[in-house]
C-alpha cells in the first residue's frame, strides 16, 4: 500500500454505512501521548525530534497491526501529498504545514492513523464510518495497550497522561462525531443544538472546506475536557445520550419538513442535482453545499439514482488535492473549478 494508491477511492469512514449513517457521517477517537523522559516537541532539539520519530516509527510498525500499515515521512512528502492526507483526515493541517521531522502510520483501510511529532509525540486516531464510537474506542485502546508494553509514556499520578497543551492532559482522549444536520440548519433550530451542546460541555465546529470557514451542514461535536473523567465515562456519555439525542433532533426536523413542506425540500434537492449535473464551474464550497442537499434527498428517498457511497466519495474526491491527483496535473483555483464541474458531470451522469 502506498500513498498514490489512495486517491481513487474513499477511506472506510466515508463508506456511508454503519449505525445512524443518515445523520452520523463518521466517528473518531484520538489519544495524545508523549514519551517519558523526553521534552515536549517545542523544547526538543532537531536530533531529539529525529530520535522520537525513529523510535515511534519502529514501535508503531512493529505492532500487531503492522503488516497492513504504511508509513508516510511527512517531512519528505510533497505539498500535494500532504494536502491529500489532510483531506482524508489522516493528518492535521498543523502536521502538514510544520517543518520538523515527523510522519504518520496509516492502516490499509485508513481507520487507523498514528501521527508522530504532531503537537504531542504521538497522536493516535481511529476513524470509522457511521456511529461506531464504542468500536473505535476499543480499537484505539488495543493499539495503546500494545504500545505501552514497549514504551513509557509521560504519566503523572495526579494529572494522568501529560501533554504539551494543558487542555489535553489526563486521558488525552478526544472523542468526536461528524454530523450531517441540514434539516436543523434549514429550520433555524441549529442554535438550540449549540446551546444544548454547550450545556453538556461539548465543542461544536463546522466542517472546514477549502477556506477556513465552516461550510454547509456538517458539524463536528467533541468533548471539551480530558481531565476528571474516565475514558469509558467520556465515551459512554457520547454513545448513550448525547449523540442519540442529536440524531433524534435532526430526524424529527427532517420528518417535519417532509410533512409540512415536501415541495420545498424536493425543489432544493432537484436544483442541487441539476446544478451538479450541468454546471461548468464549481467551487469546492458550493460543491459541498450542493452535495449536502443531495445527501439529504437520498436519505429521505426523494431522489433517484444517487447512492450515499457515491455522494460521500464525491465530497472527498472533489477537494483540491484529490482533484489534482485524479487528473494528474497541478491547477489554479479557476482551473480546478472547471475540472471539478467536469468531474462531477461525468460521475453523476452515468446513470
Amino acid at each position: 500500500m502506498r500513498l498514490a494508491d489512495l486517491t481513487q477511492h474513499a477511506g472506510e469512514w466515508l463508506r456511508g454505512e454503519g449505525p445512524m449513517y443518515d445523520v452520523v457521517i463518521s466517528s473518531r477517537v484520538r489519544l495524545a501521548r508523549n514519551l517519558a523522559g523526553m521534552p515536549f516537541l517545542g523544547k526538543c532539539t532537531e536530533t531529539q525530534q529525529q530520535e522520537i520519530e525513529q523510535r515511534l516509527r519502529t514501535e508503531v510498525l512493529a505492532g500487531p497491526a503492522a503488516p497492513e500499515m504504511f508509513y508516510v515521512d511527512v517531512r519528505a512528502a510533497g505539498e500535494l501529498d500532504r494536502r491529500l492526507l489532510v483531506e482524508r483526515h489522516l493528518i492535521s493541517r498543523q502536521h502538514a504545514e510544520a517543518s520538523h521531522p515527523r510522519g504518520v502510520a496509516v492502516s490499509g483501510d485508513e481507520t487507523v492513523a498514528l501521527m508522530i511529532n504532531e503537537e504531542d509525540h504521538l497522536r493516535m486516531q481511529v476513524l470509522r464510518t457511521g456511529f461506531q464510537l464504542a468500536q473505535a474506542f476499543e480499537d484505539i485502546s488495543r493499539i495503546d495497550d500494545a504500545l505501552e508494553q514497549r514504551l513509557d509514556f509521560a504519566f503523572h499520578s495526579r494529572y494522568g497522561y501529560l501533554t504539551a497543551c494543558p487542555t489535553n492532559v489526563g486521558t488525552g482522549l478526544r472523542v468526536s462525531v461528524m454530523l450531517h444536520l441540514p434539516a436543523l440548519k434549514m429550520t433555524g433550530q441549529i442554535e438550540k443544538l449549540f446551546h444544548a451542546a454547550s450545556d453538556m460541555h461539548l465543542e461544536v465546529r463546522g466542517l472546514y472546506g477549502e477556506g477556513t470557514e465552516a461550510t454547509g451542514d456538517f458539524f463536528q461535536i467533541s468533548n471539551q475536557t480530558t481531565l476528571g473523567k474516565s475514558e469509558q465515562q467520556i465515551v459512554s456519555e457520547f454513545v448513550d445520550t448525547m449523540v442519540p439525542s442529536f440524531v433524534q433532533y435532526e430526524r424529527r426536523a427532517r420528518e417535519a419538513l417532509l410533512a409540512e413542506r415536501p415541495a420545498a425540500i424536493d425543489d432544493k434537492v432537484a436544483r442541487s442535482v441539476a446544478l451538479l449535473r450541468s454546471a461548468r464551474l464549481m467551487s469546492s464550497d458550493e460543491t459541498m453545499y450542493l452535495l449536502s442537499l443531495v445527501r439529504l434527498g437520498a436519505n429521505l428517498r426523494r431522489v433517484e439514482g444517487m447512492d450515499l457511497k457515491t455522494i460521500n466519495e464525491l465530497f472527498l474526491l472533489t477537494q483540491p488535492a484529490h482533484l489534482q491527483r485524479i487528473l494528474n496535473r497541478e491547477m489554479t483555483p479557476d482551473q480546478r473549478a472547471a475540472a471539478r464541474a467536469d468531474y462531477l458531470r461525468r460521475r453523476l451522469n452515468l446513470n
Binding site: F40, H156, L162, P166, V204, A214, L227, G228, K229, D285
Partner: protein, 163 residues
C-alpha cells in the same frame, strides 16, 4: 484576512460561508452578533483565551525575578503564557501552583485524573524525571563540546530506559 465583525467591528470569531442562489456569501461575526443571528458556534475555550484570562487575574505584583522556571528544560512560566505549550513533563510540577487554577478552568473544575493508568506506571515518575534531567545534561554537554561526558550520559540514559 479579515477579522472584524461585519456588524459591530469587534474581533470576529465566527466565520461562515453560505451559498444562496449560487452566490457565495461570507460572514464574519463576533460571538455576540452571531448569537443574535442564530448561528453561534460554541467553541472550545482555546488555550490562548485561558491564558489571557489568567494573565488578567494575576496582573500586577508579580515579580519577574521569582517567576517559576523548569530546571529541566529551562521553560519559564511567562514563556508558557506566551506560547501556550509546556516544555517538558516536569513543567507540570515546576509550575504546579500557577497551573492548578488554569487546569481547573480548562477542565470544568476537575483536578485529578480518573482514567487509565499505564501498566508500567510503577516504573515511576522519579525515573522519568531522572531521564529528563540526564537528557538536559546531555544537551549541555554537547553544546560545550564535552563529548566524553556526553558519551557517559548517553550510556546512563540507555541504562535507565532499559531498566
Amino acid at each position: 484576512m479579515k477579522n472584524q465583525c461585519d456588524k459591530c467591528g469587534k474581533p470576529a470569531t465566527v466565520y461562515l460561508t453560505e451559498i444562496v442562489g449560487g452566490q457565495k456569501i461570507e460572514k464574519h461575526l463576533c460571538e455576540h452578533c452571531a448569537a443574535a443571528e442564530g448561528i453561534t458556534i460554541k467553541s472550545n475555550v482555546p488555550i490562548s483565551q485561558l491564558l489571557e484570562d489568567f494573565i488578567l487575574q494575576s496582573a500586577g505584583g508579580e515579580d519577574e525575578a521569582s517567576e517559576p522556571t523548569c530546571e529541566v528544560c529551562g521553560m519559564t512560566f511567562s514563556q508558557f503564557r506566551q506560547g501556550g505549550r509546556l516544555g517538558c513533563p516536569n513543567d507540570y510540577d515546576a509550575f504546579a501552583k500557577p497551573l492548578a487554577p488554569l487546569l481547573e478552568r480548562a477542565h470544568e473544575g476537575a483536578t485529578h485524573h480518573m482514567g487509565k493508568v499505564p501498566h508500567r506506571a510503577d516504573s515511576g515518575q522519579k525515573k522519568q524525571a531522572a531521564i529528563l534531567r540526564l537528557r538536559a545534561q546531555l544537551k549541555a554537554a554537547i553544546a560545550d563540546e564535552d563529548y566524553e561526558r556526553a558519551a557517559v550520559l548517553r550510556d546512563q540514559i540507555k541504562e535507565f530506559e532499559s531498566s
